[in-house]
């Protein structure tokens, strides 16, 4: 289980810019449970986008967007509608966005922020792909997470340490930023890298104030 919150609609619209035709995709797993995805998320986001003058070329609900095989099979049936779109808006966690990016050569915009689990790890118990940073950056990095794929979590591009596309600390590990660069080049969005990204707000990674009032929130049964 991963927890998500809807990004403010203004942020989604800003990242869409002048893109008119949008394919809308939502996860029916954790995001549905959080009320940020599922049927509800699809219809709410669809309405917001149409209100903003966007055209929805198609919508799709996938049970678990974190499952690449499931995403591939399900989206293969929607390829026509996806091709008609300038980009895809996805209501899901950071892993779902990365899974979609990995299978479709289209620009993918996250519509949710993944936030702290508050101790409840579930279907994807590891943070190797999504650290629930609370300020999803996958939009400008082409669906590859700079926080988890770059060993230093850099937000403004690669350090000088990569060799042959691999990280300075491990010659078998991909340099996340070279992957991001290649991906953005492929989808024609290299200009995303020109803007200086401001430092992260680390407080967004914390569990909610409510949960943090007790030391053992994750093992207490009180409701």
């Amino acid at each position: 289980m991963l927890f998500t919150q809807n990004k403010p609609i203004e942020e989604v619209l800003e990242s869409l810019g002048t893109e008119k035709n949008i394919f809308l995709l939502a996860c029916n797993g954790c995001a549905e449970a959080c009320g940020t995805g599922g049927e509800k998320g699809l219809s709410e986001m669809g309405a917001e986008l149409e209100k903003a003058g966007k055209k929805i070329t198609g919508t799709c609900l996938v049970d678990f967007l974190c499952n690449k095989v499931l995403v591939t099979t399900r989206l293969s049936r929607e390829m026509d509608k996806i091709q008609q779109a300038n980009s895809i808006v996805v209501l899901t966690c950071g892993i779902g966005v990365q899974a979609v990016s990995a299978v479709v050569d289209k620009v993918v915009h996250p519509a949710d922020n993944t936030v702290s689990l508050g101790g409840l790890a579930g279907l994807w118990p590891s943070d190797e792909r999504c650290q629930a940073c609370g300020d999803c950056a996958l939009d400008y990095t082409g669906g590859i997470c700079p926080v988890t794929s770059c060993t230093k979590g850099l937000l403004n591009g690669p350090c000088g340490g990569a060799a042959d596309g691999k990280c300075e600390i491990d010659s078998e590990k991909d340099c996340g930023w070279i992957k991001i660069y290649e991906r953005l080049e492929k989808v024609g969005r290299l200009e995303n890298l020109k803007k200086i990204r401001t430092p992260r707000d680390h407080s967004k990674m914390l569990p909610s104030e409510q949960l943090r009032k007790t030391s053992f929130y994750d093992i207490e049964t009180k409701t």
């Binding site: 230093k152 403004n156 000088g160 200086i196 430092p199």
Partner: protein, 291 residues
């Protein structure tokens, strides 16, 4: 003296690197620099270079300053969060340091404390922006500084040997936008490749200092080729060094570096020499290069 003043005077600027010791006997490190006093414009003091724990840059810079040697204080994002970095920037100003070189920093895994927590709260671009804000009297929290703000010349680094090169250049552009006034590069051995890099960044109109690492042996060259990102010593240079008797190696090495400096001189606005313990040979290299 701010380094930018030297560039503005049209001078070909020469800097060299100083690695503080692992231990407190710093006098001999600084004594060695005396021979360079009139040859070098400023000294870059490294910030725990290669992630190896040692004396810090700030204190060493101040000791150089006390001897009337101009320091450039290196600042990496590896060990301090934004509080620590901003505080050290203010400390640098208080200590009279005028030049800061901002870098990401090597990962702790590459050093002698591989189990350390890597910080990287800021990256090099964000660090430059933060210092620029301090120079305008504001900290990252948006709070006003009391009294007059600090004033620095800010430098940054770029790796012209990186492949692909474009992401490096995009980041270099951001560094200029964030406030970098000059650049130092990773070691250069391929003049043609460097020329192509310079062509690609000339629109930035910012002084670039080519990195020069003195080759101590053919083995060192091969080691760098295998282990240091963005450095490639061509076989021709390695063979040239390997082709002379051991007792002639030093002379040959200096000759190679001097030749590189002569070839690079027309392409850039300065050189940055990383001598790695061979500080005593720098005057000879510079003389052979025509300085």
């Amino acid at each position: 003296m701010k380094l930018i003043e030297r560039f503005e005077q049209g001078k070909f600027v020469i800097t060299c690197e100083v690695g503080p010791p692992k231990g407190i006997e710093i006098e001999k490190v600084i004594d060695e620099l005396e021979a360079l006093r009139s040859k070098v414009d400023a000294f870059n003091v490294t910030d725990l270079q290669s992630s190896v724990m040692r004396v810090g840059s700030l204190a060493t810079c101040r000791l150089l300053k006390d001897r009337n040697l101009e320091p450039i204080c290196q600042l990496t994002c590896r060990d301090r969060n934004r509080l620590g970095l901003q505080s050290d920037v203010l400390s640098a100003a208080v200590l009279g340091i005028k030049n800061l070189l901002c870098l990401t920093g090597d990962h702790p895994k590459l050093g002698d404390h591989p189990e350390a927590m890597p910080v990287f709260d800021l990256d090099s671009v964000q660090l430059l922006s933060a210092i620029k804000a301090l120079m305008d009297g504001k900290d990252m929290g948006g709070n006003d500084l009391e009294g007059r703000p600090p004033d620095f010349c800010l430098g940054a680094v770029v790796n012209p040997g990186a492949e692909p090169l474009e992401p490096q250049i995009m980041k270099m552009e951001k560094k200029v936008e964030a406030g970098a006034e000059f650049f130092q590069t990773q070691a250069v051995y391929e003049v043609d490749k460097f020329a192509a890099f310079i062509e690609k960044v000339k629109h930035l109109k910012v002084p670039v200092m080519a990195g020069i690492v003195l080759l101590k042996s053919p083995a060192m060259a091969r080691f760098m080729n295998a282990n240091v990102a963005g450095i490639y010593v061509p076989d021709q240079i390695i063979n040239e060094l390997a082709g002379v008797a051991k007792e002639k190696r030093v002379e040959k090495s200096l000759e190679i570096s001097a030749r590189l400096i002569r070839e690079l001189k027309g392409l850039c606005q300065g050189i940055h020499i990383m001598s790695l313990g061979w500080e005593r040979h720098i005057p000879a290299v510079l003389e052979m290069a025509g300085f």
